[in-house]
Symmetry: C2
Subunit: 131 residues, 2 copies
Amino acid sequence: MNIGAAAERSGVSTKMIRYYESIDLLKPAARRGNGYRDYGDADVAILQFIRRTRDLGFSLEEVSALLALWQNRRRSSREVKRLAETHIVDLERRIKNMRAVVRTLRELAQHCHGDERSECPILDDLGSKLS
Amino acid sequence: MNIGAAAERSGVSTKMIRYYESIDLLKPAARRGNGYRDYGDADVAILQFIRRTRDLGFSLEEVSALLALWQNRRRSSREVKRLAETHIVDLERRIKNMRAVVRTLRELAQHCHGDERSECPILDDLGSKLS
DNA sequence: CGTGCACCTTCCCACAGTGGGAAGGTCAAG
DNA sequence: CTTGACCTTCCCACTGTGGGAAGGTGCACG
């Protein structure tokens, strides 16, 4: 099947499929006589794996590692679990930061009139040397 | 004061100060006879404002808007509050997504033995056509 | 005085991912 | 046989940030 069909079935854009190939995340696709890339169901499955892994927020480097493990029959699940848990910790750290930011912003916005007046505690705080 | 001192006092790297100037987030700095950029306390205050606003996760475009409002005596606090609240909504949306991802990953990791065996529900799920 | 070191200047390159689009080849249907 | 939907490669954009080269400056110390 052509790259467009593979893109549609996998949910990965043609741009991204070519990009993934260019950075060696994917093996070079088979080519047909006319130079067109040719994909089979197994390739689509790999693309879907990548998309789902990306959806879970793994970096392309991590996707590459997970993909290798997925395709390795002699893998140990320890490594997979370690990757997942490291990622969980990272996400939790980022969530914690973002929640703190939201708390700060909500507090500031609460005290801001939000009307025609120029007085604004949000800007005061951003401009103060205290924060 | 030289750019290095301004960087140290503001917490914005020299690289970033020059970059902010190049994208017109900052007015071109005054120059001394030798071509060196020259900063005063007011400039450092602006840099600190930018750093704090960045720390709250605003994009440089939003920083630019907030900076303009900060320096505009005839601003209305409505606009500031609107920017802050839009940003809060955006952060909350992203937090929600990330929490869902963490939930999924925790569930998957829980069922993964994490030992020498290759069997691994995490990879099974990433590879399944169901998800 | 000269020498070295720390600073400054501009300029280009890299990264992660993704999208846009140009210039050209191909294929199928009308 | 033309038209339109594909495909190819290539370069450029974005968001922010850092690294480093090549060259000029300023100051302190011997």
